[in-house]
Amino acid sequence: MKTLLRMALRTLAREWRSGELGVLALALTVAVAALTGVGFLVGRIGAAVALQASSVLAADIRLGSPRPLSDEYFAEATRRGLRSARSTTLLSVVFNGDASQLSNIDAVTAGYPLRGRLLLAAEPFAPGVAASGIPAPGEVWPASRLLAAVGGKVGSHLSIGAASLLVTRVLISRPDQGGTFAELAPSLIMNAADLPATRLIQPGSRVSYHGLFAANRPEIDAFKGWLLAHKRPGERLRDVSDASPQVRNAVDRAGRFLSLASLVSVLLCAIAVAMAARRYVHRHLDAVALLKTLGATRAFTLAVSLLQLLVLALLASLAGSALGFLAQEWLLRTIRGLLAVTELPPPGIAPLALGFATALAVLAGFALPPLLQLARVPALRVLRRDVGPPPPLVLLAFGPAVAVVLALLYSVVLNGRLFVYLAAGLAAFVAGLGLAGSGLVYLAGRLRGRVGVAWRYGVANLSRRRIESVVQLIAFGTGIMVLLLLGIIRTDLASDWRRTLPPDLPNYFFVNIPPGERAEFIRFVQAEGARTTRVLPMIRGRLTAINGRPVEDGRAGREQGEASFATREQNLTWAAQLGADNRIVAGRWWTPADCGEPLVSLATEFQESLGVQVGDRLSFDIAGEALEARVASIRKVKWDTFQPNFFIVFAPGVLERFAGTYMTSAYFTPGTARTLAELAHRFPSVSIFDIDELLNQVRSVLDRAAFAVQSVFVFTLFAGLTVLLAAVQSSRDERRYESAMLRTLGASRRVVLQGVLAEFATLGMLSGLLAAAGSALAAYFLTTRWLELRYTFDLTPCVVGVVGGAVLVAVGGWLATRSVVSRPPLATLRS
């Protein structure tokens, strides 16, 4: 054992100094750097995005109840080191002299909001600046629409219940104004200390009590578990994951894409490691044969190599982790200016452990098989250089690599069906490249006689190193494919986001438009130059039974801790046409013949929460009247279009007899504060819902996700370049000798270089062609099945793949072999 250790470490140290292990170490280091860098980055940006998403709740978790919350919750939160605040919400009429407006009063305690920020201004509808606290006792911050409706201004005194409170600022937005329309009345924020003086809370008052909690994720998760176990019936817990559908979609997409990108880096690095290991083995055949001649057993020679690689993996993991950490730290510092969140969560150590574990797995899958071969080299090689190790068993050569790739793939995808798609695609791709490689060898044999000496030499090289050529083809092809795939998907994501979030997206919702004022309202809005979207009717109703079973019997509460759709009052609408942002996923949309039929179409979120199917019967209570409807279809709604959309849509001719109002959304150019104030005056019953700030939040999240994706893309690019380097390096020794021979025989340096260029350009071109086809196919599946986006075929990636592949591989090959060709032939032949 001592001899083994001494031998392994001594030769490792010396070989390191003589530069022999450079490529292998570089491949491993870049692999770990890419992996941990991506891991840190994904972790921290994911946490930052979650933090941003938290601002929609004004907290990480939010406990709501119609009854006052127990002090026990807050004491427990304090004990666990969490930050907390209370918010008490009630509807009340606010007076300014004789003018009055029904308002949503929010009495908050210090610390509110725990996530996100309040924006305040000196006059209604003006651009807001972030607040540094909450209103002092005796002061209030009414929303623009409230102040405009009652004709007040900063300095006015508003009467709220029995109290008279001074307006010191105008509330432009608050983080938890939410994406739903439950709170139609304009907001007013006051200090909770003033609440008793208002005497608004009386027996029977409709009051909501909220507990807001925030901390780092582990503490929050622990506290959430505690709360779920201790909360009383009727108390509702909301987490970031329940936050508005728009933010949730963005987080989901970003997370999925980043993990895909990190997997791509890992796979590329695995290829680089395999190539570097092949070169390592090739360079050590003589040494191992000599050791065996001198009396070393097969186990000893294997142990020496394994030990060396293990030490190398450890060192490379340390160096790579440090590099990865520095890279993401630098990256996050440069993008910090873009982030709304000033406090970025600290990096976790998980990527470090994951990085090392994956590095070991990659090493085991991709470096172990060639090492096992190395130990099988016969001692006879010391006398006969042409004797190599016997050909490996196919299972042993490729089994570990395949197993590791599949395990890595599944660990990222965690979705059986998609895993099968991707694994099958990958296998088909590798098999396709293998076949294409054989085709290339065949073609090379046919074409050799028809080209000039340089091309003949280059192409003959491909033909002669048949196995090596195929392996390189697979490596280059895979490398180019994943880079192209990333490019395609990123473009698709970006263009889809741009499509759904154009700069003139609706930024105001108008709810509660009386039927009688509908036409006049639309005329007014359009006269002011704003573009309106579709106008939908809106009727309040309550779901009472599913297939005759009352929803109160427990079925509605099956999703513990979540707001139940069934126990809430619903906004219902009817429509003849299916919106462009709606897609039927089950059942069918109605035809004019169905007009008057009690049919209903549900959004997938609603359907999933209640577990209902097409054909089920839903009973509603609308204004005291019972109505039963059959589920005709399930719709997938793209919420991020900011068009009016409803969970429950009826067929026309059913709801018209009930009294209802209308809603719409519109885009107002910035600086239209006066217009909106006038609108609030002319249509006092219309609720104006300003979603500009919410939109900005969503945009900021998407911006950050896009930037993260690009950064990860850079990591992947580095990994791809390492593959290229490793691939070229793997044939360096042979090339050195061949070049010397050719030059001895009279070939000029230019001819040899042209041959190298011809060989690599051909290799790159074919790899690029196959990669383009493979990536287009994979992109189709990924975008349509996984990311749920539209896929449009684009020829550009194909051209980029072929031309880029040829240029990249040719230039890379040329750069890496230049020194080989430049070396005087005599020096090579002598050595």
Binding site: T3, R14, L291, G295, A296, T297, L383
Partner: protein, 235 residues
């Protein structure tokens, strides 16, 4: 696996015979059909004897050497090294036997480039589990005149110096048999002569049996016995 060389493995050799080949054949397949490289060769080499194997290129000299060392297995026949049948041992068993009994000198030196001269010489001792590797290696290097070069790497040494390191490595285990494949074939005449001198000097003082494959008539002529090979046979 034969970890120890048991008496039952020792068969049929006289005590004086260190190396014995019985009806040795080696066939390989080639595009033109089976090719016989060593054709029914039988020989016996006594302890302390020096034998040169000469012959034209392709005569099968190096293959015979590989078979005698157990680096390769014969298609037929057997090799007895100090009475132990090499064909009855597996690869690791033959390696262990070489570590204890056989020394090698090659045409292309075959030093490990990552190790210093001293470390290269220590290597066979370490593989055989000797605790005195460093001291013995330094002494042997001194004997071949490389006391000042112990810390040098192979690439820092001349061809003659590299071959002297290889000779030191071969002798450091005090092997029963030293096999040399064209030991001067890669050196200029003067250096080759000096290396040959050293080889015979060490051989004489250690009482080692020497089997030498060479084209060098002068080197071959210094051996006690000369075997000529042609087309796989001893003629």
């Amino acid at each position: 696996m034969n970890n120890r060389l048991t008496p039952s493995a020792r068969t049929g050799a006289t005590l004086a015979s260190v190396l014995k080949a019985e009806n040795l054949c080696k066939q390989v397949s080639s595009p033109e059909g089976p090719l016989t490289i060593v054709d029914h060769v039988s020989l016996e080499i006594a302890r302390g004897e020096s034998v040169a194997v000469a012959g034209p290129s392709g005569a099968g000299k190096s293959t015979l050497l590989a078979l005698l060392a157990g680096l390769d297995l014969p298609s037929a026949g057997r090799v007895l090294l100090e009475g132990i049948d090499l064909t009855s041992l597996d690869e690791d068993g033959r390696a262990r036997l070489r570590a204890q009994r056989v020394g090698f000198v090659f045409q292309f030196f075959h030093l490990i480039p990552a190790l210093t001269a001293l470390e290269n010489v220590m290597l066979p001792l370490e593989l055989a589990g000797s605790g005195e590797a460093r001291r013995a290696a330094a002494e042997t290097l001194a004997r071949v005149g490389l006391r000042e070069r112990t810390a040098y790497y192979p690439r820092q040494l001349s061809g003659g110096e590299q071959q002297r390191v290889a000779i030191a490595r071969a002798f450091v285990t005090r092997p029963a048999v030293l096999l040399a494949d064209e030991p001067t074939g890669n050196l200029d005449t003067a250096t080759g002569a000096r290396v040959g001198e050293l080889l015979f000097e060490l051989n004489a003082s250690a009482g080692t049996t020497l089997v030498l494959v060479t084209h060098d008539a002068e080197l071959g002529g210094r051996c006690g016995r000369m075997l000529r090979m042609d087309a796989g046979r001893i003629v």
